[in-house]
């Protein structure tokens, strides 16, 4: 079966965007209706580009406009055919700024059944942009498994039966030779068995090691029976308004990342130094938050040591000069010779520390890639696997219930759990519902050991009991994960460089104060790590590409606008303020380590109150206040949320 809809005619039936098209943009969105098996190109205007940029900015607006029910008061659920799966890139993708091939996935996720914005890199953005599209908007549900094939104007939904059951790497391994393409000539983003089986924390994985992992976006893809998106690097050109200025601004960002002390270690080692650094703050999650004192010699976890332990091979994203993404060949042990993706910090934490695997570094590296292959979110897997381990240890879960004995640090057992969850086998079927739903099913005391937010989202791979800003951000976010942090050069937007991290009031003000920047970053089509430069530089590179005059205040305003739209969609999904809190364990007080005794629970309500006040949202209903919306130029949204009252407030 091949449903070929070549979009050649779209170039003649729609007005050519050539003249007014801002630099950096391909100018079209690729629309895909899986129910009707139709693909078509939809131009978008220069005004929309300026307003929405791309990435989460574009995705949030499409999601808000297109997933409403009940006259705009309700929202379709994650598994509804009308849910949108938006795979968006941004204006910087395909241009020479470092790490600029960004993919932002926006959808109603299976984890919270609310909005999601989650990122990956690789070569998605470049390949798509050179094919002539800024984003892919997918709707409907296919009856049979298909994959989306894009090769310039040839866009087809193709039979994916032969890919079903394959993990994400095997899927790309199969498609490359079949299409006669190798290397970055083909970018493939796919789901593995976990996505096929609608695991609530299934991810979308691409280009060997790049994962958009949050909020079950992989389950959405699975529900739509879309196994993969395969994009041949297109042959079209991207223009820049000021190409020389663009190259200079991109090089300046590179220089900044290479030399700025706050970014230098990231440049050299990516996120690897996180393990040791966070352990010193009590923010490394050890054995499901049961301790914060590493029981092993930490010198083996120093970043250079982690690198030296493997045969390393650069595996950078488009145009990126960071020494961040790598492939590793395992040198010894059971998996000797196996090629794996070098784990990020969150891989070491989720596939390692959270489950008590603290010395088998080769094993953790291998397990991390097993998760990517199955397409499970490494964070939530860490929380769920660690939770099962703790519950078995404490007798809250029996061996019979789980099906086998799973103890701290058992890599093989964890790998077995991955398969059980991915295929929903036995107890894996319970766990596949995600940590919150599994915990609630079992009830106390097991439930009290589980790490989650009441919204249903899993935290990132840190111990947020020592990172209150991130806990607050995770709980109040409209993206299913961090929405405002991590802070980058906060002084640039009038925020303090340093705060007392255990002063709830200061933390809430700070996380509200930096709000906006991240959504801006996630709309550029660049990586969160290569945007760790001053906003001024990001404006320069964006303006050189597009010919605009975006200023630093514009960026924050843009991000807050996006956040407000996501918030409105969240409320429509029923994610109300009462759900904005941590689970018992997540919000507990560390019993040892650097943050021992720091009780976030005691300050929680006050923190949330402060945050609401600072961001200008209504504490009771959760809605952004009319004044807030109007100040952001979102009068239309004020009307949507507040009706006639909008003008009175």
């Amino acid at each position: 079966m091949t449903t070929a809809i070549v979009q050649a005619q779209s170039r003649t039936t729609t007005p050519s965007p050539a003249r007014e098209l801002p630099g950096g943009y391909a100018g079209k969105l690729l629309r895909v209706d899986l129910t009707k098996k139709k693909c078509w190109a939809e131009p978008w205007s220069a005004d929309e580009m300026r307003e929405l940029l791309g990435g989460v900015g574009l995705g949030a607006m499409i999601l808000y406009r297109e997933t409403a029910t009940k006259g705009g008061r309700g929202n379709v659920s994650w598994d509804h055919p009308d849910n949108r799966l938006i795979l968006a890139t941004g204006p910087m993708a395909g241009l020479p700024a470092w790490g600029s091939s960004g993919l932002t996935v926006v959808t109603i996720g299976a984890g919270t059944n609310g909005p999601t914005s989650t990122q990956a890199n690789g070569f998605f953005g470049t390949n798509l942009k050179y094919s002539g599209y800024d984003a892919i908007v997918i709707q409907g549900q296919s009856r049979d498994w298909v994959y989306l094939y894009i090769n310039d104007d040839a866009v087809e939904l193709r039979d994916a039966k032969f890919l079903v059951g394959k993990d994400t790497w095997a899927t790309q391994d199969a498609l490359g030779p079949q299409l006669g393409l190798s290397g970055h000539m083909l970018s493939v983003y796919s789901i593995g068995p976990a996505g096929e089986n609608l695991v609530r924390f299934a991810a979308i994985q691409g280009d060997y090691g790049h994962v958009a992992s949050k909020n079950g976006c992989g389950a959405v893809m699975g529900k739509k029976k879309l196994k993969a998106v395969a994009i041949v690097r297109g042959t079209k050109s991207l223009r820049a308004a000021d190409p020389r200025g663009l190259v200079q601004a991109a090089d300046d960002i590179g220089f900044d990342l290479r030399t700025d002390p706050s970014a230098k270690s990231l440049y050299e080692y990516g996120t690897l130094p996180g393990v040791v650094n966070l352990s010193r703050l009590g923010a490394l999650p050890i054995k499901n938050y049961t301790t914060n004192v590493p029981p092993v010699d930490m010198s083996q976890w120093e970043a250079p040591k982690l690198r030296e332990g493997f045969d390393h091979r650069g595996h950078q994203c488009s145009a990126c000069g960071m020494h961040h993404c790598h492939m590793s060949v395992i040198r010894k042990g059971e998996h000797k010779g196996t090629i794996v993706d070098e784990p990020e910090y969150e891989g070491w934490s989720g596939a390692g520390w959270a489950i008590g695997a603290m010395s088998d570094i080769d094993g953790v590296a291998w397990l991390n890639t097993e998760l990517d292959r199955a397409c499970l979110d490494v964070n939530e897997f860490g929380w769920i696997c660690g939770w099962v381990m703790e519950c078995q240890e404490k007798g809250y879960l029996t061996e019979a219930q789980v099906g086998f004995r799973l103890t701290w640090g058992d890599i093989k057992g964890a790998a077995r759990l991955i398969q059980m969850i991915s295929h929903r086998q036995g107890f894996g079927n319970v766990l596949a519902e995600g940590v919150k739903r599994a915990a609630e099913k079992l009830g106390s005391p097991a439930k009290d050991c589980a790490i989650y937010t009441e919204k249903g989202a899993a935290p990132r791979g840190h111990d947020h009991r020592a990172r209150w800003d991130e806990m607050l951000d995770t709980c109040t976010s409209g993206t299913g994960t961090l929405e405002s942090g991590v802070p980058v050069h906060p002084a640039e937007i009038g925020q303090p460089t340093r705060i007392n991290t255990f002063d709830g009031e200061a933390v809430a003000k700070f996380i509200a104060g930096i709000r906006g920047r991240r959504n801006f970053e996630d709309s550029l089509g660049m990586c969160i790590f290569t945007t760790r430069t001053r906003l001024e530089n990001l404006c320069r590179v964006l303006n050189a590409a597009t010919g605009w005059d975006v200023t630093v205040p514009d960026t924050v305003r843009f991000g807050r606008r996006t956040a407000a739209i996501l918030r409105a969609a969240s409320l429509r999904c029923g994610l109300t303020p009462d759900l904005e809190r941590p689970s018992t364990r997540y919000g507990s007080t560390p019993v040892d380590g650097p943050a021992k005794g720091q009780a976030v629970g005691e300050q929680w309500e006050k923190m949330v109150d402060t945050w609401y006040r600072e961001v200008g949202y209504d504490r009771k209903t959760g809605k952004p206040l009319p004044a807030t919306l109007k100040a952001l130029g979102l009068d239309w949204l004020a009307k949507d949320l507040w009706g006639k009252r909008a003008s009175r407030r």
Partner: protein
């Protein structure tokens, strides 16, 4: 007589991370836009997705492209590179089948042949490479990739798996 330069693009494949920034820079020099399909330096993958290396014209002694051109449209520029004179090239593609290295290209949009001209002596690819995998050096040209590629294809290409 022009001073003959001995500068060439030297490729250090073990340093390449496959980011393809050289292709962006090259296509910008070639076309004024970012369109790596029109780059004349092209990164190849080896051993699946774990090894990469850029490949471009060696400025070989024979200059197969140059001697093949029926209208004398390919000459040697001040940097010592074989260079296509756009005004003279008619787009007959003889150079593309004469070059045994696969580094002579044809642009269907301009209907001209195009190739690496060392950017006239300041190669943009070398400038753009974040890992110094491409350097512009005074040395003899050589097969920079053969040995690396042979090693890094062992697993993938060595006969049936």
């Amino acid at each position: 007589m022009l001073a003959t330069t001995t500068h060439v693009l030297r490729i250090h494949p073990e340093k390449c991370t496959g980011c393809l920034r050289c292709e962006l820079a090259c296509s910008y020099m070639q076309t004024g836009t970012f369109q790596p399909a029109k780059s004349v330096i092209r990164v190849s993958p080896f051993e699946g997705h774990t090894s990469y290396a850029p490949y471009t014209c060696t400025q070989c002694a024979e200059g197969w492209c140059m001697t093949a051109c029926p209208v004398g449209a390919i000459t040697i520029n001040a940097a010592g590179a074989k260079d296509v004179l756009d005004d003279t090239c008619v787009g007959c593609k003889l150079c593309t089948i004469a070059c045994p290295y696969g580094t002579m290209f044809y642009d269907p949009d301009t209907r001209k042949a195009f190739k690496c001209n060392l950017c006239g002596g300041a190669p943009a690819c070398a400038e753009a490479c974040p890992t110094a995998a491409i350097t512009y050096e005074a040395t003899a040209t050589a097969d920079w990739l053969g040995e690396f590629a042979r090693e890094r294809t062992a697993r993938v290409l060595a006969g049936a798996r």
